[in-house]
Protein backbone atom coordinates (compact mmCIF):
# COMPACT_ATOMS: atom_id res chain seq x y z
CA UNK A 1 0.00 0.00 0.00
CA UNK A 2 1.35 3.40 -0.93
CA UNK A 3 2.17 5.66 1.98
CA UNK A 4 0.39 9.00 2.24
CA UNK A 5 2.27 12.07 3.44
CA UNK A 6 0.40 13.82 6.21
CA UNK A 7 1.03 16.90 8.28
CA UNK A 8 1.28 16.67 11.21
CA UNK A 9 2.92 13.28 10.97
CA UNK A 10 0.86 10.32 12.18
CA UNK A 11 1.25 9.33 15.80
CA UNK A 12 3.41 6.30 15.21
CA UNK A 13 6.18 5.13 17.51
CA UNK A 14 9.47 6.77 16.56
CA UNK A 15 12.75 4.90 16.35
CA UNK A 16 14.56 4.66 19.68
CA UNK A 17 16.99 7.57 20.02
CA UNK A 18 19.96 6.00 21.75
CA UNK A 19 22.65 8.63 21.00
CA UNK A 20 20.55 11.47 22.40
CA UNK A 21 19.54 9.48 25.45
CA UNK A 22 23.11 8.40 26.13
CA UNK A 23 24.25 12.00 25.88
CA UNK A 24 21.61 13.02 28.44
CA UNK A 25 22.63 10.08 30.63
CA UNK A 26 26.27 11.19 30.48
CA UNK A 27 25.37 14.70 31.62
CA UNK A 28 23.11 13.34 34.37
CA UNK A 29 25.86 11.00 35.60
CA UNK A 30 28.37 13.84 35.63
CA UNK A 31 26.15 16.05 37.76
CA UNK A 32 24.58 13.37 39.92
CA UNK A 33 27.68 11.33 40.67
CA UNK A 34 30.77 12.67 38.88
CA UNK A 35 30.98 15.93 40.79
CA UNK A 36 30.49 14.12 44.08
CA UNK A 37 33.29 11.69 43.18
CA UNK A 38 35.56 14.60 42.23
CA UNK A 39 34.77 16.33 45.51
CA UNK A 40 35.74 13.15 47.38
CA UNK A 41 39.03 12.88 45.53
CA UNK A 42 40.13 16.46 46.24
CA UNK A 43 41.66 16.59 49.72
CA UNK A 44 39.52 18.57 52.15
CA UNK A 45 41.67 18.94 55.21
CA UNK A 46 44.40 21.36 56.18
CA UNK A 47 46.78 21.28 59.11
CA UNK A 48 45.23 23.16 62.02
CA UNK A 49 47.79 24.78 64.33
CA UNK A 50 47.17 24.18 68.03
CA UNK A 51 46.51 27.00 70.45
CA UNK A 52 44.87 29.30 67.93
CA UNK A 53 41.87 31.28 69.11
CA UNK A 54 39.03 30.92 66.60
CA UNK A 55 36.03 33.25 66.65
CA UNK A 56 32.64 31.58 66.25
CA UNK A 57 30.64 34.80 66.12
CA UNK A 58 28.47 36.57 68.69
CA UNK A 59 31.44 37.04 71.00
CA UNK A 60 32.17 33.30 71.26
CA UNK A 61 35.67 31.92 70.72
CA UNK A 62 37.50 28.63 71.29
CA UNK A 63 41.14 27.57 71.26
CA UNK A 64 42.15 24.79 68.89
CA UNK A 65 43.57 21.57 70.38
CA UNK A 66 46.73 19.85 69.08
CA UNK A 67 46.72 17.04 66.55
CA UNK A 68 43.70 17.97 64.48
CA UNK A 69 43.14 19.07 60.88
CA UNK A 70 40.58 21.59 59.69
CA UNK A 71 37.63 19.99 57.86
CA UNK A 72 37.49 22.67 55.19
CA UNK A 73 34.08 22.01 53.57
CA UNK A 74 32.35 21.91 56.95
CA UNK A 75 34.08 25.02 58.26
CA UNK A 76 32.02 28.18 58.13
CA UNK A 77 34.23 31.13 59.06
CA UNK A 78 32.89 33.13 61.96
CA UNK A 79 30.34 30.45 62.82
CA UNK A 80 31.59 26.86 62.72
CA UNK A 81 34.98 25.29 63.41
CA UNK A 82 35.12 21.71 62.10
CA UNK A 83 38.12 19.51 62.94
CA UNK A 84 39.10 15.97 61.98
CA UNK A 85 41.66 13.39 62.96
CA UNK A 86 42.08 9.73 62.11
CA UNK A 87 39.08 8.40 64.02
CA UNK A 88 37.18 11.44 65.23
CA UNK A 89 35.48 14.68 64.30
CA UNK A 90 35.12 17.71 66.54
CA UNK A 91 32.81 20.63 65.80
CA UNK A 92 32.21 23.89 67.66
CA UNK A 93 29.52 26.21 66.42
CA UNK A 94 27.11 29.00 67.26
CA UNK A 95 23.58 29.32 65.94
CA UNK A 96 20.56 31.60 66.36
CA UNK A 97 18.26 30.55 69.17
CA UNK A 98 15.40 32.47 70.79
CA UNK A 99 13.60 29.66 72.61
CA UNK A 100 14.24 28.00 75.95
CA UNK A 101 17.09 25.60 76.66
CA UNK A 102 14.60 22.74 77.01
CA UNK A 103 13.27 23.48 73.51
CA UNK A 104 16.82 23.65 72.21
CA UNK A 105 17.58 20.22 73.62
CA UNK A 106 14.41 18.76 72.19
CA UNK A 107 15.25 20.17 68.74
CA UNK A 108 18.78 18.78 69.02
CA UNK A 109 17.49 15.36 69.98
CA UNK A 110 15.07 15.23 67.06
CA UNK A 111 17.65 16.52 64.59
CA UNK A 112 20.26 14.01 65.72
CA UNK A 113 17.85 11.11 65.60
CA UNK A 114 16.24 12.03 62.30
CA UNK A 115 18.84 13.60 60.09
CA UNK A 116 22.10 12.42 61.61
CA UNK A 117 20.98 9.01 62.81
CA UNK A 118 22.38 9.54 66.28
CA UNK A 119 20.67 9.08 69.62
CA UNK A 120 21.09 11.01 72.82
CA UNK A 121 21.81 8.59 75.64
CA UNK A 122 19.52 9.15 78.60
CA UNK A 123 18.62 12.53 80.01
CA UNK A 124 20.99 15.46 79.33
CA UNK A 125 22.98 16.61 82.36
CA UNK A 126 23.99 20.16 83.27
CA UNK A 127 27.62 21.27 82.89
CA UNK A 128 29.57 24.37 83.87
CA UNK A 129 33.06 25.24 82.66
CA UNK A 130 35.79 26.77 84.82
CA UNK A 131 34.93 30.11 83.19
CA UNK A 132 31.31 29.71 84.29
CA UNK A 133 29.75 28.87 80.93
CA UNK A 134 26.79 26.59 81.56
CA UNK A 135 24.55 24.33 79.51
CA UNK A 136 23.56 20.72 79.07
CA UNK A 137 25.53 17.73 77.87
CA UNK A 138 24.64 14.28 76.67
CA UNK A 139 26.42 11.23 75.35
CA UNK A 140 25.50 10.37 71.77
CA UNK A 141 25.68 7.06 69.97
CA UNK A 142 25.05 5.77 66.49
CA UNK A 143 25.77 2.74 64.35
CA UNK A 144 29.30 3.73 63.42
CA UNK A 145 30.33 6.32 65.99
CA UNK A 146 29.71 7.63 69.45
CA UNK A 147 30.65 10.72 71.39
CA UNK A 148 29.22 13.63 73.33
CA UNK A 149 27.53 16.96 72.73
CA UNK A 150 27.55 20.08 74.89
CA UNK A 151 24.97 22.75 74.18
CA UNK A 152 23.94 26.00 75.82
CA UNK A 153 22.62 29.51 75.37
CA UNK A 154 24.85 32.55 75.04
CA UNK A 155 23.90 34.81 77.94
CA UNK A 156 22.22 38.03 76.84
CA UNK A 157 22.06 37.02 73.18
CA UNK A 158 19.57 35.24 70.97
CA UNK A 159 22.16 32.61 70.13
CA UNK A 160 23.28 29.22 71.31
CA UNK A 161 26.56 27.32 71.13
CA UNK A 162 27.34 23.65 70.68
CA UNK A 163 30.45 21.49 70.86
CA UNK A 164 30.20 17.97 69.48
CA UNK A 165 32.78 15.19 69.35
CA UNK A 166 32.26 11.94 67.49
CA UNK A 167 34.62 8.97 67.20
CA UNK A 168 34.81 5.44 65.93
CA UNK A 169 33.61 3.34 68.89
CA UNK A 170 36.45 2.46 71.25
CA UNK A 171 38.87 5.01 69.74
CA UNK A 172 37.57 8.22 71.20
CA UNK A 173 39.31 8.69 74.55
CA UNK A 174 41.91 11.20 73.32
CA UNK A 175 39.33 13.01 71.19
CA UNK A 176 37.06 13.30 74.21
CA UNK A 177 39.89 14.90 76.23
CA UNK A 178 40.50 17.37 73.41
CA UNK A 179 36.79 18.15 73.20
CA UNK A 180 36.64 18.87 76.92
CA UNK A 181 39.73 21.09 76.61
CA UNK A 182 38.13 22.93 73.70
CA UNK A 183 34.95 23.38 75.72
CA UNK A 184 36.95 24.72 78.65
CA UNK A 185 38.66 27.17 76.29
CA UNK A 186 35.28 28.54 75.24
CA UNK A 187 34.99 32.25 76.00
CA UNK A 188 32.03 34.54 75.57
CA UNK A 189 32.63 38.27 75.33
CA UNK A 190 29.65 40.23 76.49
CA UNK A 191 28.12 42.46 73.87
CA UNK A 192 28.95 46.13 74.44
Amino acid sequence: MASVSTFPPPASAPRPNWPGTLAVLAVALFYGFGLTALNRIVPGTAAQPAGVTVALGHGVSVVTPAGWSADIPKTNPGETLALLNDASSLVATTFPWEGSEAEMLERLRRLFETTRRFHLAGQPEPFRTARGIAGSTSAIYGEHADGRVWIGRIPGAKFGFAVRVRSVPGQGAAAMRDAVALLESLQIKEAK
Binding site: P8, P9, A11, S12, A13, P14, P16, N17, W18, G20, T21, L22, V24, L25, V27, A28, Y31, G32, F33, L35, T36, L38, N39, V42, P43, G44, I72, P73, T75, N76, P77, F95, P96, W97, E98, G99, E103, E106, R107, R110, L111, E113, T114, T115, K158
Partner: protein, 294 residues
Protein backbone atom coordinates in the same frame (compact mmCIF):
# COMPACT_ATOMS: atom_id res chain seq x y z
CA UNK B 1 -2.39 38.78 13.71
CA UNK B 2 -3.61 35.44 14.88
CA UNK B 3 -1.04 33.76 17.14
CA UNK B 4 0.16 30.41 16.00
CA UNK B 5 -0.55 27.40 18.17
CA UNK B 6 2.25 26.98 20.68
CA UNK B 7 2.82 23.41 19.63
CA UNK B 8 1.67 20.49 17.62
CA UNK B 9 -1.91 19.31 17.98
CA UNK B 10 -2.70 16.85 20.69
CA UNK B 11 -3.10 14.10 18.11
CA UNK B 12 0.69 14.13 17.79
CA UNK B 13 2.94 11.51 19.28
CA UNK B 14 1.94 10.46 22.81
CA UNK B 15 4.47 10.87 25.60
CA UNK B 16 4.07 7.31 26.85
CA UNK B 17 6.86 5.77 24.77
CA UNK B 18 8.11 2.59 26.40
CA UNK B 19 10.25 1.86 23.32
CA UNK B 20 12.19 5.07 23.81
CA UNK B 21 15.20 4.77 26.14
CA UNK B 22 14.71 8.46 26.97
CA UNK B 23 11.32 7.60 28.45
CA UNK B 24 12.88 5.14 30.90
CA UNK B 25 15.73 7.48 31.76
CA UNK B 26 13.16 10.17 32.51
CA UNK B 27 11.15 7.73 34.66
CA UNK B 28 14.23 6.45 36.50
CA UNK B 29 15.43 9.92 37.44
CA UNK B 30 11.92 10.86 38.53
CA UNK B 31 11.90 7.90 40.91
CA UNK B 32 15.25 9.11 42.28
CA UNK B 33 13.73 12.53 42.80
CA UNK B 34 10.74 11.05 44.58
CA UNK B 35 13.10 9.30 46.96
CA UNK B 36 15.08 12.51 47.63
CA UNK B 37 11.95 14.57 48.20
CA UNK B 38 10.36 11.84 50.30
CA UNK B 39 13.37 11.51 52.59
CA UNK B 40 13.56 15.26 53.04
CA UNK B 41 9.86 15.51 53.84
CA UNK B 42 10.09 12.52 56.19
CA UNK B 43 12.88 14.19 58.15
CA UNK B 44 10.91 17.43 58.22
CA UNK B 45 7.74 15.74 59.44
CA UNK B 46 9.68 14.05 62.25
CA UNK B 47 11.40 17.20 63.54
CA UNK B 48 9.04 20.06 62.58
CA UNK B 49 5.77 18.39 61.49
CA UNK B 50 3.61 21.50 61.37
CA UNK B 51 6.15 23.48 59.32
CA UNK B 52 6.61 20.59 56.92
CA UNK B 53 2.88 19.99 56.43
CA UNK B 54 2.02 23.67 56.20
CA UNK B 55 4.92 24.23 53.82
CA UNK B 56 3.61 21.47 51.56
CA UNK B 57 0.19 23.09 51.47
CA UNK B 58 1.52 26.63 50.99
CA UNK B 59 3.87 25.75 48.14
CA UNK B 60 1.23 23.61 46.44
CA UNK B 61 -1.18 26.55 46.49
CA UNK B 62 1.64 28.88 45.44
CA UNK B 63 1.91 26.93 42.19
CA UNK B 64 -1.60 27.90 41.08
CA UNK B 65 -1.15 31.63 40.24
CA UNK B 66 1.86 31.04 37.95
CA UNK B 67 -0.07 28.27 36.18
CA UNK B 68 -2.97 30.67 35.70
CA UNK B 69 -0.56 33.31 34.37
CA UNK B 70 1.05 30.83 31.99
CA UNK B 71 -2.39 29.89 30.72
CA UNK B 72 -3.25 33.54 30.17
CA UNK B 73 0.01 34.02 28.27
CA UNK B 74 -0.93 31.11 26.02
CA UNK B 75 1.83 28.76 27.09
CA UNK B 76 -0.49 25.76 27.15
CA UNK B 77 -2.15 26.40 23.79
CA UNK B 78 -2.39 23.37 21.53
CA UNK B 79 -1.33 20.74 24.06
CA UNK B 80 -3.10 18.68 26.68
CA UNK B 81 -1.84 18.79 30.26
CA UNK B 82 0.41 15.71 30.03
CA UNK B 83 3.61 17.27 28.64
CA UNK B 84 3.40 20.15 31.07
CA UNK B 85 2.80 17.84 34.01
CA UNK B 86 5.82 15.83 32.87
CA UNK B 87 7.91 18.99 32.53
CA UNK B 88 6.84 20.20 35.97
CA UNK B 89 7.62 16.78 37.45
CA UNK B 90 11.07 16.78 35.89
CA UNK B 91 11.84 20.17 37.39
CA UNK B 92 10.59 19.23 40.83
CA UNK B 93 11.96 15.70 41.01
CA UNK B 94 14.43 14.71 38.29
CA UNK B 95 16.38 17.96 38.23
CA UNK B 96 16.30 18.31 42.02
CA UNK B 97 17.51 14.71 42.43
CA UNK B 98 20.63 15.49 40.42
CA UNK B 99 21.11 19.06 41.63
CA UNK B 100 21.25 18.31 45.38
CA UNK B 101 24.50 16.27 45.33
CA UNK B 102 25.95 18.42 42.53
CA UNK B 103 25.44 21.61 44.52
CA UNK B 104 26.96 20.06 47.64
CA UNK B 105 29.95 18.93 45.61
CA UNK B 106 30.55 22.37 44.09
CA UNK B 107 30.31 24.04 47.49
CA UNK B 108 32.83 21.52 48.79
CA UNK B 109 35.17 22.00 45.82
CA UNK B 110 34.98 25.79 46.13
CA UNK B 111 35.91 25.55 49.81
CA UNK B 112 38.77 23.14 49.18
CA UNK B 113 40.22 24.69 46.03
CA UNK B 114 39.82 28.34 47.06
CA UNK B 115 38.72 28.86 50.67
CA UNK B 116 35.75 28.35 52.99
CA UNK B 117 35.17 32.13 52.89
CA UNK B 118 34.98 32.04 49.10
CA UNK B 119 32.60 29.08 49.16
CA UNK B 120 30.38 30.84 51.66
CA UNK B 121 30.23 34.05 49.61
CA UNK B 122 30.28 32.76 46.03
CA UNK B 123 29.30 29.07 46.28
CA UNK B 124 25.65 29.71 45.47
CA UNK B 125 26.56 31.96 42.53
CA UNK B 126 28.68 29.16 41.04
CA UNK B 127 26.76 26.03 41.99
CA UNK B 128 23.24 27.34 41.39
CA UNK B 129 23.49 28.26 37.72
CA UNK B 130 26.20 25.75 36.79
CA UNK B 131 24.25 22.77 38.09
CA UNK B 132 20.63 23.75 37.99
CA UNK B 133 20.34 25.43 34.58
CA UNK B 134 21.73 22.48 32.56
CA UNK B 135 19.86 19.96 34.71
CA UNK B 136 16.52 21.68 34.23
CA UNK B 137 17.18 21.91 30.51
CA UNK B 138 17.88 18.16 30.41
CA UNK B 139 14.18 17.66 31.14
CA UNK B 140 13.21 19.64 28.06
CA UNK B 141 15.67 17.65 25.97
CA UNK B 142 14.35 14.36 27.39
CA UNK B 143 10.77 15.28 26.50
CA UNK B 144 11.90 16.14 22.98
CA UNK B 145 13.65 12.78 22.76
CA UNK B 146 10.64 10.91 24.12
CA UNK B 147 8.28 12.37 21.54
CA UNK B 148 10.35 13.73 18.66
CA UNK B 149 8.37 16.04 16.41
CA UNK B 150 5.68 16.74 18.96
CA UNK B 151 7.23 20.07 19.96
CA UNK B 152 8.27 21.86 16.79
CA UNK B 153 7.96 25.53 17.67
CA UNK B 154 10.01 27.77 19.92
CA UNK B 155 7.01 28.79 22.08
CA UNK B 156 6.07 25.16 22.73
CA UNK B 157 9.60 24.40 23.90
CA UNK B 158 9.83 27.61 25.94
CA UNK B 159 6.58 26.56 27.63
CA UNK B 160 8.18 23.25 28.58
CA UNK B 161 11.15 25.17 29.96
CA UNK B 162 8.92 27.45 32.02
CA UNK B 163 7.10 24.46 33.51
CA UNK B 164 10.34 22.65 34.29
CA UNK B 165 11.55 25.83 35.99
CA UNK B 166 8.34 26.26 37.95
CA UNK B 167 8.51 22.66 39.19
CA UNK B 168 12.11 23.15 40.28
CA UNK B 169 11.26 26.47 41.92
CA UNK B 170 8.41 25.26 44.12
CA UNK B 171 10.18 22.08 45.20
CA UNK B 172 13.35 24.04 45.96
CA UNK B 173 11.30 26.58 47.91
CA UNK B 174 9.72 23.73 49.84
CA UNK B 175 13.15 22.25 50.60
CA UNK B 176 14.33 25.66 51.78
CA UNK B 177 11.25 26.00 53.97
CA UNK B 178 11.81 22.63 55.63
CA UNK B 179 15.50 23.38 56.13
CA UNK B 180 14.66 26.79 57.56
CA UNK B 181 12.22 25.11 59.93
CA UNK B 182 14.88 22.61 61.06
CA UNK B 183 17.24 25.50 61.85
CA UNK B 184 14.62 27.94 63.07
CA UNK B 185 15.76 29.63 66.27
CA UNK B 186 12.63 28.85 68.26
CA UNK B 187 9.95 26.20 68.59
CA UNK B 188 7.53 28.28 66.49
CA UNK B 189 6.63 26.20 63.44
CA UNK B 190 4.58 28.77 61.54
CA UNK B 191 7.23 31.52 61.30
CA UNK B 192 9.67 29.74 58.97
CA UNK B 193 6.87 28.94 56.51
CA UNK B 194 5.59 32.52 56.49
CA UNK B 195 9.10 33.96 56.21
CA UNK B 196 9.97 31.71 53.27
CA UNK B 197 6.70 32.39 51.52
CA UNK B 198 7.28 36.13 51.76
CA UNK B 199 10.96 36.14 50.84
CA UNK B 200 11.28 33.27 48.38
CA UNK B 201 7.74 33.18 47.08
CA UNK B 202 6.52 36.76 46.93
CA UNK B 203 9.66 38.93 46.81
CA UNK B 204 11.81 36.60 44.71
CA UNK B 205 9.34 34.29 42.97
CA UNK B 206 8.69 36.32 39.85
CA UNK B 207 12.32 36.39 38.73
CA UNK B 208 13.30 32.85 39.45
CA UNK B 209 13.62 29.42 37.87
CA UNK B 210 10.58 29.55 35.59
CA UNK B 211 12.03 32.62 33.88
CA UNK B 212 15.60 31.26 33.75
CA UNK B 213 14.48 27.98 32.23
CA UNK B 214 12.20 29.67 29.70
CA UNK B 215 15.19 31.73 28.55
CA UNK B 216 17.42 28.64 28.37
CA UNK B 217 14.73 26.68 26.52
CA UNK B 218 14.47 29.42 23.87
CA UNK B 219 17.80 28.22 22.49
CA UNK B 220 16.70 24.59 22.37
CA UNK B 221 13.52 25.75 20.69
CA UNK B 222 15.49 27.63 18.06
CA UNK B 223 17.69 24.58 17.52
CA UNK B 224 14.66 22.36 16.94
CA UNK B 225 12.51 24.83 15.01
CA UNK B 226 15.19 25.85 12.52
CA UNK B 227 16.64 22.74 10.95
CA UNK B 228 17.31 24.81 7.82
CA UNK B 229 19.70 27.15 9.65
CA UNK B 230 23.44 26.40 9.75
CA UNK B 231 24.25 23.96 12.53
CA UNK B 232 26.80 26.30 14.08
CA UNK B 233 24.22 29.08 14.38
CA UNK B 234 21.66 26.76 15.95
CA UNK B 235 24.25 25.55 18.42
CA UNK B 236 25.34 29.12 19.15
CA UNK B 237 21.77 30.22 19.89
CA UNK B 238 21.21 27.19 22.13
CA UNK B 239 24.47 27.74 24.01
CA UNK B 240 23.87 31.49 24.16
CA UNK B 241 20.42 31.06 25.69
CA UNK B 242 21.74 28.64 28.29
CA UNK B 243 24.62 31.05 28.91
CA UNK B 244 22.20 33.95 29.39
CA UNK B 245 20.16 31.94 31.91
CA UNK B 246 23.39 30.90 33.63
CA UNK B 247 24.61 34.51 33.86
CA UNK B 248 21.32 35.88 35.20
CA UNK B 249 21.04 33.09 37.75
CA UNK B 250 24.63 33.61 38.82
CA UNK B 251 24.12 37.36 39.15
CA UNK B 252 21.02 36.78 41.26
CA UNK B 253 22.81 34.33 43.57
CA UNK B 254 25.96 36.42 43.83
CA UNK B 255 26.78 38.89 46.60
CA UNK B 256 27.03 41.67 43.98
CA UNK B 257 24.95 44.73 44.90
CA UNK B 258 24.50 43.29 48.41
CA UNK B 259 25.68 46.63 49.80
CA UNK B 260 22.40 48.10 48.56
CA UNK B 261 20.51 45.99 51.09
CA UNK B 262 21.69 48.03 54.04
CA UNK B 263 21.46 51.47 52.44
CA UNK B 264 18.92 54.03 51.33
CA UNK B 265 18.43 52.29 48.00
CA UNK B 266 17.60 48.89 49.48
CA UNK B 267 14.27 48.81 47.60
CA UNK B 268 16.18 48.76 44.30
CA UNK B 269 18.04 45.58 45.18
CA UNK B 270 15.48 42.99 44.07
CA UNK B 271 14.29 44.80 40.90
CA UNK B 272 17.87 45.54 39.80
CA UNK B 273 18.73 41.88 40.07
CA UNK B 274 15.43 40.40 39.01
CA UNK B 275 13.97 42.61 36.30
CA UNK B 276 16.53 41.60 33.64
CA UNK B 277 15.43 37.99 34.15
CA UNK B 278 11.72 38.64 33.72
CA UNK B 279 12.21 41.09 30.86
CA UNK B 280 14.46 38.64 29.02
CA UNK B 281 11.88 35.87 29.36
CA UNK B 282 9.02 38.14 28.21
CA UNK B 283 10.97 39.56 25.26
CA UNK B 284 12.09 36.11 24.10
CA UNK B 285 8.55 34.80 24.48
CA UNK B 286 7.20 37.61 22.29
CA UNK B 287 9.94 37.04 19.72
CA UNK B 288 9.17 33.33 19.67
CA UNK B 289 5.43 33.90 19.30
CA UNK B 290 5.87 36.42 16.48
CA UNK B 291 8.28 34.15 14.68
CA UNK B 292 5.91 31.20 14.95
CA UNK B 293 3.01 33.30 13.71
CA UNK B 294 4.96 34.55 10.69
Amino acid sequence: MKPAPASAPSSALPLFQPRQPAFWLYALLLVGGLHTAGMMALGGFTVMPLSTGLGLLVWTLYTLPPLWLFRKLGLFRGQPATPFVMAFAWGGLGAVYLAVPANQAIFGLAAKLVSPEFSHAWGAAIAGPSDEEPLKLLGVVLLLLIAPGRFRTIPSIMALGALVGLGFQVVEDYFYTVNAALGHPSANQIEPVVQNLIVRGILCGLWSHAAYSAVAAFGVGYFVAHPEAPFARRLLVAAGSLGAAWAMHGFWNSPLLASLMGGTWFFLYLPLKGLPVVLSAIILWRVARQESAA
